[in-house]
């Protein structure tokens, strides 16, 4: 049993990390009051931009290429999310429609461009990051073995972003203002906060983080852009709800989902798990999210103003 768990664990973490950072992006956007179902498209944007940048640079600066690729992905995600921000914040557009448009546009434009570049539409990078043992931390009994013997550097970076995000959201004036815009934007405005600006920041962060999630997939386990994030953006959205819009809730939810997905992937080759039909494990995240929605329907922690266009004249 121990061997099984410690064997699965690195894969579960690998799968969790892109989900985590994407859901965290969604958290910033929704906390500021803008629903973002375009996370999937923003991930695809990040995958494309990072893969494209990396293949350009890998022969020139092999060591830096991956890092520059991650940054390029984030920049592209931010730029692309501006479309969503502009539609939802300045034009009071329906945020779900605008998010759907983001998903469709990202999938179509990136494949269109990729086909112009490579013909097949796939972009494969030469090599990604390799997992390493983290000094000191890997010596912690049990946890060290599970978390830090086969860790990717991106995993540590994203866990750091998680801690920072939680700090920013709950311990700084900026975080308080951002959350106020998602709960009661009229009150926030009366207190002198520029609601539109805060919402722009929230959406831009979601663009950067979701794209980073996509880029991390490229530099760790996938290595190839193929025009799809395979629904991970929607899974991140489910995790955001299941985690009740809190950073560490999201961490728990994404790890839960990541672990279930990993078990689903390997269940057919491991005798102990073969008794569970994979469909149960694969639909599990969506079904538990539905159940959570019902259970929390009376006490949901959802930002109260999320999804509503801001009308400063409304009381």
């Amino acid at each position: 049993m121990w061997q099984l768990i410690s064997g699965i664990f690195p894969y579960a973490i690998l799968y969790t990390i892109p989900l985590l950072i994407t859901a965290l992006g969604g958290l910033f956007s929704e906390r500021s009051g803008v629903v973002n179902i375009g996370l999937e498209g923003l991930m695809v944007m990040g995958m494309f931009s990072s893969a494209f940048t990396i293949i350009q640079l890998q022969s020139v600066v092999p060591n830096l290429a991956l890092w520059i690729g991650l940054l390029a992905g984030m920049a592209a995600g931010m730029l692309f999310s501006l479309l969503h921000a502009f539609a939802s914040i300045n034009l009071s557009a329906n945020q779900v429609i605008s998010g759907t448009a983001i998903n469709m546009m990202a999938g179509a434009i990136t494949l269109f461009l990729a086909r112009n570049i490579t013909g097949s539409g796939n972009i494969r990078i030469q090599r990604g990051f390799t997992p390493n043992e983290v000094p000191v931390l890997s010596d912690i009994p049990i946890l060290g073995k599970l978390f830090f013997t086969n860790a990717y550097v991106t995993t540590l970076v994203i866990l750091l972003i998680l801690v920072l995000s939680s700090f920013v959201l709950y311990k700084t004036p900026f975080g308080l203002r951002l959350r106020a815009c998602g709960e009661n934007p009229q009150a926030a405005e009366a207190a002198g906060i520029n609601v539109r600006r805060m919402r722009y920041i929230g959406v831009l962060i979601s663009g950067a983080f979701a794209a980073l999630g996509g880029a991390v997939i490229i530099v760790t386990y996938s290595g190839e852009f193929n025009g799809s994030a395979a629904g991970l953006g929607f899974l991140a959205l489910a995790a955001l709800i299941f985690g009740q819009w809190r950073p560490f809730g999201v961490l728990g939810a994404t790890f839960f989902f990541g672990f279930a997905s990993t078990v689903a992937n390997v269940s057919q080759v491991i005798p102990e798990l073969k008794v569970i039909p994979p469909v149960i494990l694969q639909t599990f995240p969506y079904v538990v999210t539905l159940i959570a929605l019902i259970m929390f329907s009376k006490s949901s922690q959802a930002p109260r103003a999320a999804g509503e266009p801001f009308d400063s004249g409304k009381r």
């Binding site: 469709m104 546009m105 434009i109 694969q282």
Partner: protein, 355 residues
């Protein structure tokens, strides 16, 4: 009238954006569009294929538009279409009956299965106030994984990723219809689609049921105060919307294609949102918009073969159109500013003329 102008401008902007993309990537937009439209219209066979490509979009567009009219946002048309098409395929591969009996059965199964997949979000909305956008997204992916597992296990064809081909008796394709259109894969779906358009237009505009569903969509509390059964109307609206999407699955997997493939949520479900917006949520508008998108999709293969422009240009144009339709307020502002300018000019002219 205003809706039509906004829709046409959204299409125009989408096509301009597509032209820019072609130009940026080194193709000539004029030849690109010429081949795109020729590919969908050049021969009677291609016209048939365009109509067939439009058929699932008619259903998903109607599904989304009907939900919008009743105050619901059905973003789960994709999953309902997949599940409806999957159940109908299952029945079509299992039962061995004459065509005149089997085809009506699979159509009903497709409708019921799609309706069932939308019943749950309707119920959750009515009973627990769970937003249908979130619950239908979850059910999209649930349908995806169910189909992903059941097809290889029970309906496996020559590949792991698709079902066996349907027997002729279960297909919506008719020999005479294909012959009429020079060998196109056009099928009974298009007639069903037109019938559905008429039926939905009738339900929305001419029946008490439609009136109640719209009233609940406009203002849940007012409708309740007026004595309408709010919960029942929400569930019913979702069920009809889901059933329409399920029919789209029947048209796609049993007419346009003759087997079902795993690993895809059908695009048509999301394109249905674009179709509904462009058609201003009017059933006849939906029909026009679906045929237009069908044209963009069916001509792209020819364009790709002739001038090498990647076929994703069509998806890109549609996505840009939906963005412009979503931000239609921008277009409306533009129009009203133009009108005001013209009026001011005229007033100024009139004044100077009078002096």
């Amino acid at each position: 009238m205003k809706n039509a102008v906004v829709s046409l401008l959204a299409v125009l902007f989408g096509l301009i954006a597509g032209a820019l993309l072609m130009a940026v990537t080194g193709s000539n937009p004029v030849t690109g569009y010429t081949y795109l439209f020729e590919g969908g219209l050049k021969s009677i066979e291609r016209i048939g294929n365009t109509l067939a490509t439009a058929t699932p979009l008619i259903f998903t567009g109607l599904s989304v538009a009907f939900a919008f009219r009743t105050g619901l946002f059905n973003i789960g048309a994709s999953g309902q279409m997949l599940f409806g098409g999957f159940c109908a395929t299952f029945v079509g591969l299992t039962l061995d009956l004459p065509k005149a009996i089997l085809v009506p059965i699979v159509v009903v199964v497709g409708f019921v299965a799609g309706a069932l997949w939308a019943f749950l979000p309707g119920l959750l909305k009515a009973k627990f106030n769970v937003h249908e956008v979130v619950s239908t997204i979850m059910l999209n992916w649930t349908a995806y994984w169910v189909v992903y597992n059941v097809v290889p296990a029970y309906l496996k064809g020559s590949y792991e990723t698709e079902s066996r081909p349907l027997p002729v008796n279960a297909q919506l394709r008719m020999g005479w219809l294909s012959d009429l259109f020079g060998g196109s894969y056009i099928n009974l779906g298009i007639f069903l689609g037109v019938l559905a358009v008429i039926a939905i237009a009738y339900i929305i505009d001419r029946t008490t049921l439609g009136y109640e569903m719209k009233a609940v969509g406009f203002n849940r509390h007012a409708a309740e105060f007026a004595g309408m059964a709010v919960g029942r109307n929400i569930v019913l609206a979702m069920v009809i919307s889901g059933g329409l999407a399920g029919l789209g699955g029947v048209a796609q997997y049993m007419g346009n294609a003759i087997n079902i493939q795993i690993g895809h949520l059908p695009n048509q479900g999301f394109d249905g949102i674009a179709v509904a917006l462009l058609g201003a949520n009017n059933p006849y508008g939906v029909l026009l918009a679906a045929v237009f998108f069908g044209l963009l999709y069916s001509g792209r293969g020819y364009m790709n073969a002739m001038v090498g422009i990647p076929p994703e240009i069509s998806d890109t144009i549609i996505a840009i159109i939906i963005y412009f339709a979503a931000t239609s307020i921008l277009i409306e502002r533009l129009i009203s500013r133009l009108l005001r300018k013209r009026r001011e000019k005229r007033d100024a002219n009139a004044e100077s003329g009078g002096a």
